[in-house]
């Protein structure tokens, strides 16, 4: 699996799904969700700033609140390559993995916030659970994903896995 490389954006604790993707944007066509990423947050102009592969580093309980898959989808479309946080709310975590957006927890968030400046370039190895701060050359430990979650991300999302199951059962005629 390819490493994620990009600039860092910092966010705090309890970043809820209304901040990530406001309710009014839940009805926009799916392909336009990226334009509303983090519109309700402390970085409302995130969409103008973010570039493909950028990494969000956040605190506890990232993605709490609603089950809206539009929230991780908006971040993914905007270009977010990975999210590293103290912890994630359950539905957000599952949604991210199901759509193939790498999210990963770490015990080093305080250290990361101290050592790294917003905009610094980092390289995230999801498979190995490592984060490299390019400028200092220092590496930080991340908590590896479960084998199931990693398999889904590698398969490109849950849908592909369901197709495999149905094919095994002979219930998917896609030849």
């Amino acid at each position: 699996m390819e490493k994620v490389k990009g600039c860092v954006f910092f966010l705090g604790d309890d970043i809820d799904t209304d901040q990530i993707l406001p309710g009014y944007a839940m009805s926009v066509p799916a392909s336009q969700l990226g334009q509303y990423a983090l519109k309700g947050s402390s970085i409302p102009d995130f969409v103008e700033k973010v570039q493909s592969g950028d990494v969000i580093i956040a605190g506890r309980n990232f993605g709490c609140g609603s089950s809206r898959e539009q929230a991780p989808e908006a971040l993914k479309q905007a270009g977010v390559g990975a999210i590293v946080a103290d912890s994630f709310a359950m539905i957000f975590r599952k949604n991210s993995i199901n759509i193939g957006l790498p999210i990963i927890t770490s015990e080093c968030i305080d250290e990361l916030k101290k050592d790294i400046s917003e905009g610094d370039v980092v390289e995230v190895d999801i498979e190995e659970g490592k984060l490299l701060h390019v400028k200092s050359g220092k590496t930080y430990e991340l908590n590896k994903l479960s084998p199931q979650a990693l398999a889904i991300i590698k398969a490109g999302g849950l849908i592909n896995r369901v197709r495999e199951i149905l094919r095994e059962r002979g219930e998917l005629d896609d030849h």
């Binding site: 209304d18 009805s27 089950s67 539905i91 199901n98 219930e171």
Partner: protein, 401 residues
């Protein structure tokens, strides 16, 4: 095994399960609404299977933008209608009610069932002893195709509320107090059982209010004690009912619960009574009794939103609708509108609202600086009359009740 593990093991047809086991469980009901359903349907089509696992067990409810609040939201309705025609699934699209209220009223599940819902407040069904798991659109699509869900069996915690509640303290006050104690991430990934005699004595309406907000502590599953043997849990937390005062969750988190008296007198500009948290007949009755013969303060916009069409009809029959309208409130159609910030009462920067809904995150109801205080219908109704936040207990002492 505890009650949660027993239900999961029975459904999965295995002798036993324990926390952290990975297991595939058959699903009795899978549901979504108009803002999560279309994405689930899109993902379902990507799977490429010709039909849903059981069309009787797949339900869509148009409740979030009803009537449609934009051209895009109408497109979402029509996506659900098309899927209904193609797959023969169940569809409620005529303002029938908020999904969690409606599926309960329609009897689409029973105690011990496994429910999967593409909405975080799916946990409401725990009030009736169902195991209700919230998911996103892609997982919903997978469940529609397979009829099963893969879960990690959660650790189970028991919260017991014991003794008698103080006068003026309602189910909403109890759950806001509990969330303030344990925090918005307090039970992430776990199953929470609500028990104790103060909870067991509650009506189903009240139990739904309690169960509805378990997700605000991050819980995967919420379950209200049904009088069965609960069994062994990870940890039990006992709360003395008498220590609970009327609560408001202050901006900007459902976890910011404080006694109402601490913010009494805060001027307000909007009041909302309703939602899947507090939009049931008993909630409406509490509010109507407060508002009967009174007027909403002329600085306040009051919106009443019943949780279902059936409740709206009962409100008409009992004269509550008339009381609300005479008092100056706007009674809107059943739905989710005011709660989730897409239509029917958006707030601007300098607005302050008291709302019986479940979330007050920044921007939840409009502008991200608008302030929302979550409260019981009693506190909300009294505050609407006063034009500022009122502690219901203080009114009780003044003999209003």
């Amino acid at each position: 095994m505890n009650i949660i593990e027993r239900i999961i093991a029975d459904k999965a047809r295995v002798p036993s399960v324990k926390a952290k086991d990975e297991i595939t469980v058959p699903v009795d009901l899978v549901m979504a609404h108009d803002v999560t359903g279309p994405m689930a349907i899109e993902q379902f089509y990507r799977i490429g299977t010709a039909k849903v696992f059981d069309r009787e067990k797949v339900v869509f409810v148009i409740d979030h933008n009803i009537p449609s609040s934009s051209v895009d939201s109408r497109l979402q309705h029509n996506t659900l209608k098309k899927f209904y025609r193609e797959m023969g699934v169940k569809l409620y699209h005529q303002g029938d009610g908020v999904i969690h209220q409606l599926v309960a009223e329609e009897g689409l599940y029973k105690k011990g069932d496994i429910i999967v819902g593409a909405d975080s407040h799916t946990c409401t069904a725990g009030a009736f002893g169902a195991i209700a798991i919230p998911v996103g659109a892609t997982e919903m699509a997978a469940v529609m195709a397979l009829g099963t869900i893969d879960i990690e069996v959660p650790a189970t915690y028991l919260i017991e509320v014991k003794g008698s509640l103080n006068p003026g303290v309602f189910a909403k006050d109890v759950i806001l107090y509990i969330i303030s104690k344990f925090g918005t991430g307090g039970f992430t990934d776990t199953a929470v059982i609500f028990g104790g005699d103060a909870i067991r004595r509650m009506s189903y309406d009240e139990k739904m209010t309690i169960s509805n907000m378990a997700i605000e502590m991050g819980a995967m599953i919420s379950y209200v004690d049904q009088g069965d043997d609960i069994g062994e849990v990870e940890e039990t937390f006992a709360i003395d009912a008498s220590e609970i005062e009327p609560q408001v969750a202050c901006p900007y988190s459902p976890g910011n619960g404080r006694p109402v008296r601490e913010v009494e007198g805060t001027p307000i500009s909007q009041v909302i009574i309703g939602s899947c948290t507090n939009g049931r007949l008993s909630d409406m009755e509490i509010a109507a009794r407060v508002l009967e013969g009174k007027k909403v303060a002329d600085t306040v916009t009051m919106i009443v939103v019943p949780a279902s069409k059936r409740i709206a009809q009962q409100m008409d029959e009992k004269g509550f609708t008339k009381i609300f309208r005479k008092a100056g409130a706007i009674v809107v159609n059943p739905g989710c509108g005011p709660c989730f910030g897409a239509h029917q009462g958006l707030l601007c920067e300098d607005d302050v609202a008291v709302s019986t809904t479940n979330r007050n995150f920044p921007g939840r109801m409009g502008h991200k600086k608008a302030k929302v205080y979550l409260a019981s219908p009693r506190t909300a109704a009294e505050s609407a009359i006063a034009g500022y936040i009122v502690n219901s207990e203080s009114h009780l002492q003044r003999g209003v009740d």
